[in-house]
């Protein structure tokens, strides 16, 4: 194919160098600032691995134990660093094993470049050994993808891949390279891509819309902000804080928005959505103005759309024009990057305090506290609760750890109860809900931010979906703290069976292995806690460990996560029990 859409940067009197396609791939990665990539070798990608061997020291390849693990590690890396994560795999099964992580990155807007080897171009379409149409398969779950059959196309396509993955609303890109293109020699010259003609990643912020938004905000009596990951991706944490402090607006977050504003901030009123906090969910249907910032009104956030915030005017700050009016119709849509839009909004805002309106949040919090939170954090029954574990981690980490969760009850509990005092501290699979995400994502996060405490929190079910990545932790000496909250159940599904299927526990009970022995089999320090008295000391031991550490906490088997908005119900019909 021809790529005529790239505007080159500056003058091009640089000398070219004759190298192979496979070396070019590695040189492109280095030129893009990639220091770590995650992957698994195989026939069709061997030439690139051979170059990775030669460039050892300049770029670090992490051998995961499964290609899915490579994508989640790349995602964890990307989510905590804000840089593009890179995963690499061979053709056929190697490539198809990437798909879950790619789909996850697509729905959660994570910048990622995946490189796959492909059979030689003369074999394409012949059902050759390990040939799959990975470009076809990955099309609906990538922001962009491309197959390369000629070495000469490698620099331009790679440059375009990184540019597209990281710009605008980020997302995953897949580049499939035939084996002959990897072997072929050509004159290499790398130029970063800064522009693709048909692609407009950053709509310009319209100052008229900003002023309209400001007018609505200044006139509102009961405004509510709901922010999402757009704030973190747009590095707009400070701007958001300034806006909500000046205008005195209570602000709630979606699961992926967590940590952009510290948990302890007085205007932070908690999480919205299915297992979010009581006050922001109920008051969504009472506010007179809903200000959505970098969020996309996912159905897990809105519950029934026909009863969602119908009384309110809606302002939508959003980078992706396709999200405007997709689920919720807005009265004012401000397109553009969150940082810029909020920066421009600030001077037009009047200082307000909305004291009475805040009191409503406090009153409803008290109800949630009495009915749910108190029992979660200070249980009177014998069994440990998941929330207690989070409370202990909070106090020992001062809320500064990056919490990487898997999917299920423990995920909701972690998001509800973890203290997030540093941005980019909640790494979780939000949109896809991918069990198995947590452990490998934590590896990527730890490698990208070695100075941060990274705590992986999984359930006994999801942990076993990618448990083999303990091998990666061991081989890489990644000091990840791995916590499994073991309820011997696929807890979240069991909860639904209890509530909506008359307790018919179809295939949700888990007969679990000796998790401590498994961790120890990988030479990872491990401990199991079954009693409340041991918890604080065990968490302390884990936090003090300089190396990886595995902690299994046996929790109450049949606890439920509340509050809960049953599927199809309205946000204001959220149940406390």
């Amino acid at each position: 194919m021809e790529i005529q859409t790239i505007k080159s940067q500056g003058k091009t009197n640089k000398a070219t160098e004759r190298i192979s396609g496979s070396e070019a791939v590695v040189r492109c990665l280095i030129a893009e600032g990639v220091d770590i990539l995650y992957g698994y070798p195989g026939g069709a990608i061997m030439p690139v691995y051979d170059e990775l061997y030669k460039y050892h020291g300049k770029i670090h390849h992490v051998l995961t134990r499964h290609e899915q693990g490579a994508t989640h590690a790349a995602q964890g890396y990307a989510r905590i660093s804000g840089k593009v994560g890179v995963a690499i795999a061979t053709s056929g099964p190697g490539a198809t094993n990437l798909i879950t992580g790619i789909a996850d990155a697509q729905i959660d807007s994570t910048p990622m470049v995946c490189i796959t080897g492909q059979v030689a171009s003369h074999l394409l379409g012949s059902d050759a050994f390990q040939e799959t149409d990975i470009v076809g398969i990955s099309t609906p779950v990538t922001k962009w993808n491309c197959q390369i059959t000629k070495a000469a196309d490698i620099p331009k396509v790679m440059a375009k891949a990184f540019y597209i993955a990281r710009s605008g609303r980020p997302g995953p890109v897949l580049v499939d390279i035939t084996k002959d293109a990897q072997f072929e020699e050509f004159d290499f010259l790398y130029e970063k891509c800064t522009h693709v003609r048909s692609y407009n990643p950053l709509p310009t912020t319209d100052i008229i819309k900003v002023k309209e938004a400001a007018n609505l905000i200044n006139a509102a009596k009961k405004p509510l902000i709901v922010w999402g990951q757009g704030v973190i991706l747009g590095k707009a944490e400070e701007e958001l804080k300034a806006v909500l402090e000046k205008a005195g607006i209570p602000a709630a977050w979606t699961i992926l928005g967590a940590s952009a504003i510290p948990t302890s901030h007085p205007l932070n009123v908690g999480m919205v959505g299915m297992h979010g906090n009581y006050a922001p969910n109920v008051l969504t249907n009472e506010c007179d103005l809903l200000i959505a910032i970098g969020m996309r009104f996912d159905d897990r956030v809105t519950g029934s759309l026909s009863t969602y915030a119908k009384q309110a005017k809606v302002i939508h700050f959003e980078i992706d024009p396709a999200e405007i009016d997709k689920n919720v119709k807005s009265d004012v849509a401000v397109l553009g990057d969150a940082k810029k839009s909020l920066e421009e909004l600030l001077p037009f805002l009047e200082e307000k305090s909305h004291t009475d309106w805040h009191q409503k949040f406090k009153d409803l919090y008290q109800i949630e506290y009495d009915k749910v939170i108190k029992n979660d954090l200070y249980p009177t029954k014998e069994g440990l609760t998941m929330a207690e574990v989070l409370k202990e981690i909070n106090s020992q980490s001062e809320g500064k750890a990056a919490i990487v969760t898997d999917v299920g009850q423990h995920q909701m509990v972690a998001c509800r109860y973890a203290d997030f005092n540093v941005s980019k501290s909640n790494i979780t699979s939000g949109g896809l809900g991918t069990m198995g995400f947590g452990l490998p994502a934590a590896i990527g996060a730890k490698m990208a931010a070695p100075d941060r405490e990274v705590i992986s929190i999984s359930g006994d079910g999801g942990y076993q979906m990618t448990i083999q990545e303990l091998g990666t932790i061991f081989q890489q000496k990644a000091a990840v703290k791995v916590v499994v909250l073991n309820n011997d159940f696929l807890g979240m599904v069991r909860q639904w069976q209890q509530l909506f299927f008359d307790k018919r526990y179809a295939s949700t009970e888990m007969v679990n292995p000796n998790f401590v022995a498994i961790a120890e089999g990988y030479y990872i320090k491990a401990r199991k806690v079954t009693k409340r008295e041991e918890l604080a000391e065990a968490v302390a031991e884990m936090m003090q460990s300089k190396e990886a550490y595995f902690l299994e906490v046996c929790v109450e088997k049949e606890d439920n996560v509340f509050p809960m908005i049953p599927t199809g119900a309205s946000v204001s019909d959220i149940r406390l029990e």
Partner: protein, 177 residues
Amino acid sequence: MSTEDKQLYTVSIYTENNIGLLNRISAIFQRRHINIESLNTSPSEIEGVSKFTIVVNMDEVNIKKILGQIEKQVEVIKAYYHNLDQIIYQISGLFKIKSELLFEEPHIQNIIKESNARIVTVNKAFFILEKSGKKEEIVEMYNQLSKFGIMQYTRSGLIAVTKEEMKISSLLESYNN
């Protein structure tokens, strides 16, 4: 959305030439169970830029959302939607008919004359009729001819130009800067 609000729309998509794009665009419709009535791809008035013309039966609220999803694709330059009153369009139909009928059935000659159809080729065994126009006109001709027996029949996708100007060239100009 009630079915009353549905009508035929053409979606005109200007794109970079790209092998995978057809797949990407059709997946957008497929995922949402939207039946594509017809689809045509061709070069456009601008060199190096392709044009898709897709016909769908939808309501306006949803077609706007679809347009957002289409324009979001990296290699899509711009997409527009129009109802049939806003465009000039043509569809063509090809009919293969036994040659002897041309002489045996005087009625066929009338049909050809009245419908402004064109005889593309004639040989001993068969002749080919071509008719361009609105879908109804082609269907009408099919109905008339089918009484006599049609050996082969095919109808093309709809192609259209708009009554209003489409500012693709100036748009591309602005993208380049």
